[in-house]
Symmetry: C2
Subunit: 464 residues, 2 copies
Amino acid sequence: MNADPTLVARLPIELPALDWITDTARVARLSQDFAWFSPVLKRQLADKSADIAVRPRTEAEVRAVVAACARDAIPITVRGSGTGNYGQSIPLHGGVILDMSGYNAFCWVRGGAGRAQAGIRLADFDRQARPQGWELRWLPSTFRSATLGGLFGGGFGGAGSITYGPIAATGNVLGVRVMTVEPEPRLIELRAPDAMLLHHVYGTNGVVLELEVALAPALDWIESIVTFGSFDAALEFASGVGSAPGLVKKEVCFLGAPVPDYMSALAEYLPKGCHAVLVVMAESSQAGMENMAAAAGGRITYRKTAAESGSRTLLEYTWNHTTLVALKLDRTLTYIQSGFEPARHLEQVKALERLLAGEVMMHLEFLRTKDGAFNCSGLQLIRYSTEARLDEIMQIYREHGVTINNPHAFILEDGKQGELNPAVVELKRRFDPQGLLNPGKMRSWYALDADADEAYAPSVNADN
Amino acid sequence: MNADPTLVARLPIELPALDWITDTARVARLSQDFAWFSPVLKRQLADKSADIAVRPRTEAEVRAVVAACARDAIPITVRGSGTGNYGQSIPLHGGVILDMSGYNAFCWVRGGAGRAQAGIRLADFDRQARPQGWELRWLPSTFRSATLGGLFGGGFGGAGSITYGPIAATGNVLGVRVMTVEPEPRLIELRAPDAMLLHHVYGTNGVVLELEVALAPALDWIESIVTFGSFDAALEFASGVGSAPGLVKKEVCFLGAPVPDYMSALAEYLPKGCHAVLVVMAESSQAGMENMAAAAGGRITYRKTAAESGSRTLLEYTWNHTTLVALKLDRTLTYIQSGFEPARHLEQVKALERLLAGEVMMHLEFLRTKDGAFNCSGLQLIRYSTEARLDEIMQIYREHGVTINNPHAFILEDGKQGELNPAVVELKRRFDPQGLLNPGKMRSWYALDADADEAYAPSVNADN
């Protein structure tokens, strides 16, 4: 069931001062994200669209839209810049796209923490925080356009997670300002740990207006590429640099051959067939990293300070930008996301590489888990054949003790979250009692709440 | 065999402009350190003394002393502030104490690194680096008096090792300036990793004049005491806070009952019989730590910013200051140093506590190992009975898979180092060919080098 078009059509008439987007093509674009990385999600979600979009600039404008939608039971899907890969901000039941990108003021930095409105772009946040000596702890590869609210609502972390872990780790997010979805919306400041009940639930249980996050001291970073002839040597180097406590770093990305061959813009630094490690180190840690590279038989083919890089950054070849760059050259590729066991990650990677080389191309991001264990996470590229074979590959991974965070699912519980914390659903009951936020994404809502509107339940969409 | 007293007596006559100390009592004091923590070392080393001490103020003065000693084959024992606990700077064969505390200039801070002369006190280094936005990565509890050269030559790390690992971890030390012990001393700048061949070898293979170290961004720290009724809850809290990647911290120290009862100066914050965790957190991580404390049933009894603490810091109740504070109240105590297995540290601690409570009092320092694994290191207090029982306790620890870094040994190979890297001995051959530096401390020197002067070999002292 979709929103009632007549009721939706009344919104811009009732609230004429707001920046509404009604052009069907534009609304359709604002209804999509990067879910097309997955052939499965592409098929399931490509035709989904909201009926209308709106770009509020003030809290009062957000409030006016939310109040009207609550009154008329119109679904609201909150969107940042649409850089997600799981259809986080693709509305399944039409209604309104609440595009937060215009609600983007930087509030303040103090005491090692910073606060901004949800729609601020991550790059803008850093641009304003760095002169005060601080920067964001995590930067997904989409940092130029991705918003802070989007990262919190649908993201994991990114560059920086090798030091600070995922966003979900205690201490990273300090508080959020939330608006409830009711005819008289309430404004609530939630501090951590309660604030985390709104993290990575695709905006289903409250409209996040502002975020307060712990920051990292702004450092001068040096970006390097280290190439290797040996897969194992490159892997061990990446793991060694990543875990070394005396080397301060922002990013360690491992690209097994032939992944580097897809990076055509970096071809002069990536000898054909090489294995490559992309690293971003603090200035004073560069020598230590280079010593380790030399000892491992690696060759530094690229080394640039932030000033020397200009607008190019290697971060835009890591995380899901690796996937994007490869997909641009070869649309038949897809990918999986995998989590290794901290104590066995090298062994698991080597075994799976031996088994699936050629079909599965190894791309690993090194990081600290939520609890601080050193680990790597895979965003392996796959030469896609069929959905059945994709499932088979994921099953082989699981049989090796590797967790699969299925990026080919748009329902929260089917992706990385698994069972939802019941407190998340309880919060939705308090903050979005009618279940209007991004309906169809949280299966537990429909399972747990007999009163929930079954019209929006995920089962309706399962075969779509 | 000791140095020839006639030759030693000639030194101040030959070099009258230098600051010589000849008074027997003062020389004896400058020949001792905190080895008296160990009843074993106390017995073995209490009567050891140099013949003379000298406090050079310039490189030229260091050079003059070293050249003269090399010419006359007089042993040289380099000393910082004598805060070591293993007799690192106690001369076994008389000769000259080269007291570096007057050679203490701060050189510079740039690019996240800092450089200073070896005799600079750690507190002075920080005082000069902090206005430039940086601080040392590690502070042993003796930071007020301990020198940078002493920490490098005989120390491990300290507060800060929970983030940056031990000094030995790649990337922490960037370079050293060394003087060789020859009639014509040479000056050599060694960069890491070679520079590390001079680390923790008690000044036996070169005279370190300057150190260049990677720094940490200077943060505003908050010191807290969290008390618990339950040993296990306190332990798990300490481990959880210590490993949490989103909580930026400088120190997590666990004191099982009855250790806190020895901290009489903090008695108002430490209910009798409590288990306590002393933590030093970055300002923006304090709330996250307090949330974890509340969840674990801990009570914050003390919370002070650096400004509020004034000259008192909880760091002076951690690491070997815990031992010192307890020994001041009860001279019959001693201690051991132990290293747990990262994957089993909690389990091992709990098992040993159940087995030895009463006789062994649990004091743990949480840290990252050289490779970045999260772990704890024990500096357990022992109700001392006999050397045999002390050995038995250490054996029980070993049988539980715990490493003992025997703090009751003054020879390098008998303490934490175990087998020395042959490159260390090779460096000594190049930089101290006559074996004059701190003779008797490096067993491998005598074992490997048939030409080494056997008069200084450790065996001579074994039963002393």
